[in-house]
């Protein structure tokens, strides 16, 4: 398909991506592709121990090596760099915030914590030198288990704290009376393992200091404007001397590149100190040890319900293992916090009692991963609903249905506002696609042949952008979407956003939108992003903001300029009383609707306003550029429902996904094929998390999953083709009716898959509540050996 073959409207069409023309030719510009003359290479030395006093770090041997320019340790930098926490990357929530520098000072708290850095003229030499650094450790007791970390006798990570609890929050009220009176109560301990969405491109930083301009730094990053403020603050550099650029191409992020990390601070510090450009490109081993670890929650969850399946109350005691929590913006605990707040999911749960405790351990800080904190909580909730249905002898889909929120908007008992949509229609449309009655008949006949097939459901509400009323208190940042639109005298359109996409395809979808607004071709629109000097302030490419907030800012900025162009055209053509609504922008022209003979070419009119600003209407000036800041009236969420159909071999515990079907509500899709791609990828990430991937620490806190051989991601041969369907309802709060989608897609996957396996093994009375969902663990649970099936038997009151 070529973009030249067809014409407007562009929104709603699956045109090929603009980005692909460079990426297919190997012409992307990723961080590791950037180099500067005289550039030095930085390599970190990292802690070999999980918890120890750091007696000494000796860089003498490294310093003596040919080509080594500098070696620094925590003691060298602690007086020159402001430690975290600092306000710009600290939530407006009460928690204990550990103090830390980019390199360990005094003690180490996880295996892989940076303890020193080497800078050399050659990257091979820098690596040799980093290996020559030695440290003397005085080992401390290690705690890697979240419940052990809660014991009064547990080793404390932060000696100035009374315990290891970093953050606690309660939602709701006491529900004991409802629990006592209910027809049925089910309870279970639901556990999601430590797993995340490591992107294919690791992190990296290239920093250059030049007087008097200051620092220019390229960082693999989702939120360059926030990085800029944070770096200026910790390094004591006036903000006007700090410029952050997220590279044009980034090899995925999925949340991993959203925090403010230690490493970028040190690279910038050394670039200034040494007066030479310094680059650090993270190895995969470093990446898997230091970042991209998420989930890791335990839910002791109970549901009280009537005999018809209607849930009366939910109680959950949640433990989040947040690792050492030393990470700007998220501090490990924001993910479990949001996960707990989103526990009601799409369900109408009038009464709940949720208590979350987030606990530090000798593991890497929890860092965000797509589905942000709610992967474990959705697993717990949708598994519990499935257990409830089984207990009552009802169809799980029916129990989901009678509990789904009927009337929107809706505010959950945890205080989350859901704006719009039709959750039941999403579920019902999914049920039609899987034809549940027909499936049950097939399941019966399969069982008679000794084959065990099952169906499972997972549902989810997910961010469609994050409103200021959520983001200011939670992350101390604004939620508005920001975009600049500039029209040049040739009628070409330049867009700029302050966020930093990393594979989403903003260049294509934003161009589709602007092309429709101005009645031009997407090829005539270009998008720039990621550079704090040339883009408006934005809080980053996070929480499915692109198609919700940022694209809406593009539309508002376009419409502001269209009104100006219409005013000036009415003036030029002496169309008394004509308003902006009287002009169509189509086919490269601006046409007066009441008399289509009165028209002017879009480019000619842009030239007239930008280059010939004479005889303008009173109050107007020349030029065509506008920046819009879009804030929806209320927070926005999307809803989706997934179904998995599996066949399980009870002899071995092996299972095969026969079908995976999704039903999404994206409002209005801008580029349907790109939406489908987001869903395909998100589901497979969720599936890979559920089945294949796991970060493993031994009892000494030594990381055991530090390569792609030991941290196993699903390959092409491991995964099914997802059937992606839609039950869209336009979002009333965005100008195009669009919703953001992407962020939440993995969320419903673990429950859908696990519920399907449980359904298949119903004749065996099988239960499973602890991820990962793997054949050997299914086999063990089926044969009474506990793994994965540690839940209490459902209890009927």
């Amino acid at each position: 398909m070529s973009t030249t073959e067809t014409s407007a409207p562009w929104v709603g069409r699956s045109i090929p991506r603009k980005e692909d023309l460079r990426l297919l030719r190997g012409r992307g510009q990723y961080l590791a592709d950037l180099a500067l003359p005289g550039m030095l290479h930085l390599v970190f030395a990292r802690s070999a121990q999980a918890h120890a006093r750091l007696q000494a770090v000796d860089g003498a041997r490294a310093r003596a090596m040919r080509g080594v320019v500098a070696v620094v340790t925590g003691e060298d930098i602690r007086r020159e760099i402001q430690p975290l926490p600092i306000k710009v990357v600290q939530p407006n929530l009460t928690a204990k915030y550990p103090t830390f520098w980019p390199l360990a000072v005094g003690k180490v708290c996880f295996h892989g914590e940076p303890i020193a850095a080497v800078v050399a003229t050659d990257k091979y030499v820098a690596e040799d030198a980093a290996r020559a650094i030695t440290a003397r450790y005085d080992p401390l007791p290690v705690v890697t288990d979240v419940e052990a970390a809660l014991q009064p006798s547990a080793p404390r990570l932060n000696e100035d704290w009374d315990d290891n609890v970093m953050f606690s929050v309660d939602f709701g009220e006491d529900v004991s009376a409802l629990m006592a009176q209910a027809d049925v109560v089910v309870r279970g301990r639901f556990r999601a393992h430590r797993v995340g969405v490591t992107p294919l491109e690791t992190r990296g930083v290239l920093a250059q200091w030049a007087e008097p301009d200051g620092m220019t730094v390229w960082i693999t990053n989702q939120r360059p404007h926030v990085e800029r403020l944070a770096l200026a603050d910790v390094l004591g550099i006036p903000a006007q001397q700090m410029r952050v650029i997220a590279p044009r191409d980034q090899g995925g992020a999925f949340g991993t590149k959203a925090p403010f990390y230690r490493e970028e601070i040190l690279v910038c510090y050394l670039a200034r100190k040494l007066g030479r450009p310094v680059r650090w490109v993270e190895t995969r081993e470093e990446h898997l040890m230091a970042v991209s670890q998420e989930r890791d929650q335990i839910h002791d969850l109970e549901l009280a319900a009537r005999r018809d399946g209607r849930i009366l109350a939910m109680r959950d005691r949640v433990l989040g293992d947040v690792g050492d929590a030393k990470e700007g913006v998220y501090w490990g605990y924001l993910m479990p916090f949001i996960g707990a707040a989103l526990l009601p999911n799409g369900y109408d749960l009038p009464k709940l009692d949720v208590k979350l405790r987030c606990v530090v351990t000798n593991k890497s800080a929890l860092s965000p991963a797509r589905a942000f904190g709610s992967f474990p909580s959705r697993f717990a909730m949708d598994r519990a609903v499935d257990m409830l249905a089984r207990r009552l002898g009802l169809e799980t889909a029916d129990v989901i249905r009678i509990n789904l929120i009927k009337d929107l908007p809706h505010t959950t008992a945890t205080g989350v506002y859901y704006d719009s949509g039709d959750y039941r229609r999403v579920l019902d449309t999914l049920l039609e696609k899987v034809d549940l009655p027909a499936f049950r008949r097939e399941q019966d006949s399969a069982r008679r042949q000794g084959r065990y097939v099952g169906i499972g459901f997972g549902t989810g509400t997910a961010f469609s952008g994050v409103a200021s009323e959520v983001l200011v208190p939670v992350e101390n940042q604004p939620g508005y979407g920001a975009a600049t639109v500039r029209i040049d005298p040739r009628g070409k359109v330049f867009l700029a956003e302050g966020d930093a996409p990393h594979g989403q395809g903003h260049e294509t979808v934003f161009a589709q939108v602007a092309a429709d607004e101005f009645g031009i071709h997407p090829d005539d629109v270009v998008l720039s992003y990621g550079d704090t000097t040339t883009t408006p302030f934005g809080s980053g490419t996070i929480g499915a903001r692109g198609a919700s907030y940022t694209v809406s800012a593009v539309v508002e900025a376009c419409r502001h300029l269209k009104a100006k162009m219409a005013r000036i055209l009415a003036h030029d053509l002496k169309l008394a009383g004509a308003g902006p609504e009287d002009f169509d922008f189509a086919g490269g022209e601006i046409v007066y609707r009441r008399d289509p003979t009165k028209r002017r070419g879009f480019a000619a009119h842009a030239d007239r306003i930008v280059m010939g600003p004479l005889d303008l209407p009173a109050g107007d000036s020349g030029g065509l550029e506008h920046t819009a800041f879009f804030e929806a009236a209320k927070p926005m969420y999307g809803f989706s429902a997934h179904a998995a159909i599996v066949e399980v071999n009870p002899e071995s515990g092996e299972f095969k996904v026969l079908r995976y079907v999704t039903m999404e509500d994206v409002g209005r899709a801008i580029n349907p094929r790109m939406v489908e791609s987001q869903v395909q990828g998100g589901v497979i990430q969720g599936l890979s998390n559920t089945i294949y991937e796991q970060f493993v620490y031994d009892a000494e806190g030594q990381q055991q999953s530090t390569s792609f051989l030991t941290y196993r991601m699903a390959s092409a041969a491991d995964v099914p083709t997802v059937e992606v369907y839609h039950a869209d309802t336009p979002c009333p709060l965005t100008p195009l009716g669009t919703r953001g989608l992407g962020e939440g897609v993995p969320g419903p996957v673990p429950a859908a898959l696990t519920n399907a396996v449980v359904d298949a093994l119903t004749p065996f009375g099988f239960e499973f509540t602890t991820l990962p969902l793997r054949p050997e663990r299914i086999w063990a649970a089926l044969h009474g050996k506990a793994a994965g099936g540690a839940a209490e038997a459902p209890k009927v009151v």
Partner: protein
């Protein structure tokens, strides 16, 4: 310790003195300046992002030293389009939206070139098994597998000279 090597990449000869331990992927990226070949697993041979053709056969360029490619012919993703025309695989990847972040794409394309040379009419299962050495985190693989199948059809219909 260094050694002179002569490596032909995309038809251009590079004659350099290189350290014995220099990886072929670093020769391609840092010496030849061809940055379309990527590194994602950092020299474990697992991710496949550094896949290139060595004398027409797909290899992971992080698993070879530059000196092992002395006198050999290397094709990288930059050499895939001919006379400004995208390769059938590149066209199919674009049409089928087989790319999100693009970081794995170069390696996947080079693996697929070799795959289709060996098996011009692969089934979906053969394509998926053929791509197990290339990890993709964004797409869930389905559009990639579809694109390889579409390219195979296009190449059978209009073989390149």
């Amino acid at each position: 310790m260094s050694k002179p090597v002569s490596i032909t990449i995309n038809g251009q000869i590079f004659e350099e003195d290189v350290p014995l331990r220099l990886l072929l992927v670093d020769f391609i990226r840092d010496v030849a300046g061809l940055t379309g070949t990527h590194v994602a697993c950092t020299w474990e041979g697992r991710c496949g992002a550094c896949t290139v053709l060595l004398n027409g056969e797909a290899v992971k360029s992080c698993m070879l030293l530059a000196v092992q490619a002395d006198g050999e012919n290397v094709t990288t993703v930059e050499g895939l389009a001919a006379d400004g025309q995208l390769h059938a695989l590149q066209e199919a990847f674009r049409d089928r939206n087989a790319i999100q972040c693009g970081f794995c794409t170069s390696g996947v394309l080079m693996t697929a070139v070799d795959l289709l040379a060996e098996n011009p009419e692969p089934t979906d299962g053969e394509i998926r098994r053929g791509l197990v050495g290339n990890l993709c985190r964004c797409t869930g693989y389905v559009h990639i597998a579809e694109a390889v199948a579409a390219a195979a059809r296009a190449m059978r219909a209009a073989p390149r000279p």
